[in-house]
């Protein structure tokens, strides 16, 4: 049930992103899920979020999934080292992720948009808080 609600929220955000709010909105729940959910669940959600976004914006299918999966992997590799669910990690990480995402996908990014986009991680984190599990997070290990 919680995944259905999260996916519906992502769907709504993707429509907003592709019509009236030219910000990178979907990246916010993807980052929140990556820092708080189990790795496998976060990866699946990142893939689905990317697919929804590609379908609603008309971008090449798989492009955003590719980026979101890379983002989720990166977060899980450094999760413990930086206490990834703290704002002091989330804010700069979101800032960098939005810059990279906009640069790769060619979006028009002004400094004001960048700051607003980064700050939106705070309400996104609050909104998704009830859905997070309290259990200890698993780390992705290649060893």
């Amino acid at each position: 049930m919680k995944y259905l609600i999260i996916l519906l929220s992502i769907l709504g955000l993707s429509f907003l992103e592709s019509t009236v709010l030219p910000l990178n909105l979907i990246i916010l729940p993807v980052i929140c899920l990556a820092v708080r959910q189990r790795t496998d669940e976060a990866l699946i959600m990142a893939f689905l979020a990317g697919m929804i976004l590609d379908l609603s914006t008309g971008r090449i299918l798989g492009l955003d999934s590719f980026f979101f999966l890379s983002l989720t992997l990166l977060i899980h590799l450094y999760q413990r080292r930086f206490q990834a669910d703290r704002l002091r990690f989330l804010l700069p990480f979101t800032f960098l992720a939005v810059i990279i995402n906009s640069t790769l996908l060619g979006g028009a990014l002004t400094p004001v948009k960048l700051v607003i986009n980064t700050a939106l991680i705070i309400p996104a984190r609050l909104f998704l808080q009830p859905f997070f599990k309290e259990e200890k997070q698993e780390q992705l290990e290649f060893a």
Partner: protein, 256 residues
């Protein structure tokens, strides 16, 4: 348990994304896209129209105080416009007569396909696509003003490259001095009329129009708001304010 299945899952999804990118790039997923657009296009249309209404309401509330002054100004402008309208009617008749005399009507091959806007991200997205005969490279206009050029089209939508986009390079000229150059997009917010020879004349408030070369000629791009001329450089340039507010566009026409 999660550790063991995480890496294979990541690799599977990663490769699946790569496969989708390849398949979509070569056009194998057109039917999937067309199917999804059957659902998403009407929803996006509702989102966009609702967003515009909300934006207009907020804008109205913010500018309410200034509206009285603007109303007075508009009333005085209206009188001037009415006299201009009479002159325009006379000119229209003259123009029609001249056209008949010269037997030079507009080319019959030029047709306009009306389209509604669906959204504005980096590109303007419209509700007409390949099914309606839209192809990349087609010019999009609103009245006699340039909206942009189609850069990609799916079955039911198209993406329009706008003049302020960093990739936009439009052969252009100034209307009164006929100075030729390129209208280049800058930061997605403004247009620079560049590559203009120093010998040419650029004036503030002069209008910049298309010069042909892949676009219909004499489509309005914008108005010069600042001229930048340095004697040591081979070219001069000017900052151009686009003639359209792309966020408020609702109906556009594709030149077929």
């Amino acid at each position: 348990m999660y550790k063991k299945r995480t890496l294979p899952l990541f690799l599977f999804l990663f490769l699946l994304s790569l496969l989708l990118i390849l398949l979509d790039n070569f056009g194998f997923l057109k039917s999937v896209r067309a199917g999804s657009e059957q659902i998403t296009v009407p929803i996006r249309s509702v989102f966009y129209q609702t967003g515009q209404k909300v934006s207009q309401t907020i804008s109205f509330a913010i500018h309410l105080q200034g509206l009285n002054e603007k109303n007075k100004q508009l009333e005085s402008d209206l009188g001037q416009f009415q006299s201009l309208r009479v002159k325009l009617k006379v000119l229209e008749k003259e123009n029609q007569a001249l056209r008949q005399q010269l037997e030079a009507p507009l080319p019959p091959s030029v047709k306009f396909l009306p389209a509604k806007t669906l959204g504005l991200d980096r590109f303007l997205i419209i509700d007409k696509g390949e099914d309606d005969g839209v192809k990349p490279g087609m010019t999009v206009v609103s009245e006699n003003r340039l909206v942009g050029k189609v850069v990609a089209a799916t079955a039911r939508t198209s993406q329009i490259l706008l003049p302020p986009d960093p990739e936009a390079k439009i052969p252009a000229k100034s209307l009164s001095t006929n100075a030729r150059g390129l209208a280049l997009g800058s930061f997605g917010t403004k247009v620079i009329f560049s590559k203009v020879l120093q010998a040419e004349t650029l004036q503030k408030d002069d209008l910049i129009v298309t010069a042909g070369d892949g676009y219909l000629p004499d489509l309005l791009i914008g108005k010069i708001i600042k001229v930048e001329k340095r004697e040591v450089e081979p070219f001069q340039q000017a900052e151009v304010e686009p003639s359209l507010n792309y966020q408020q566009l609702e109906n556009v026409f594709i030149v077929k």
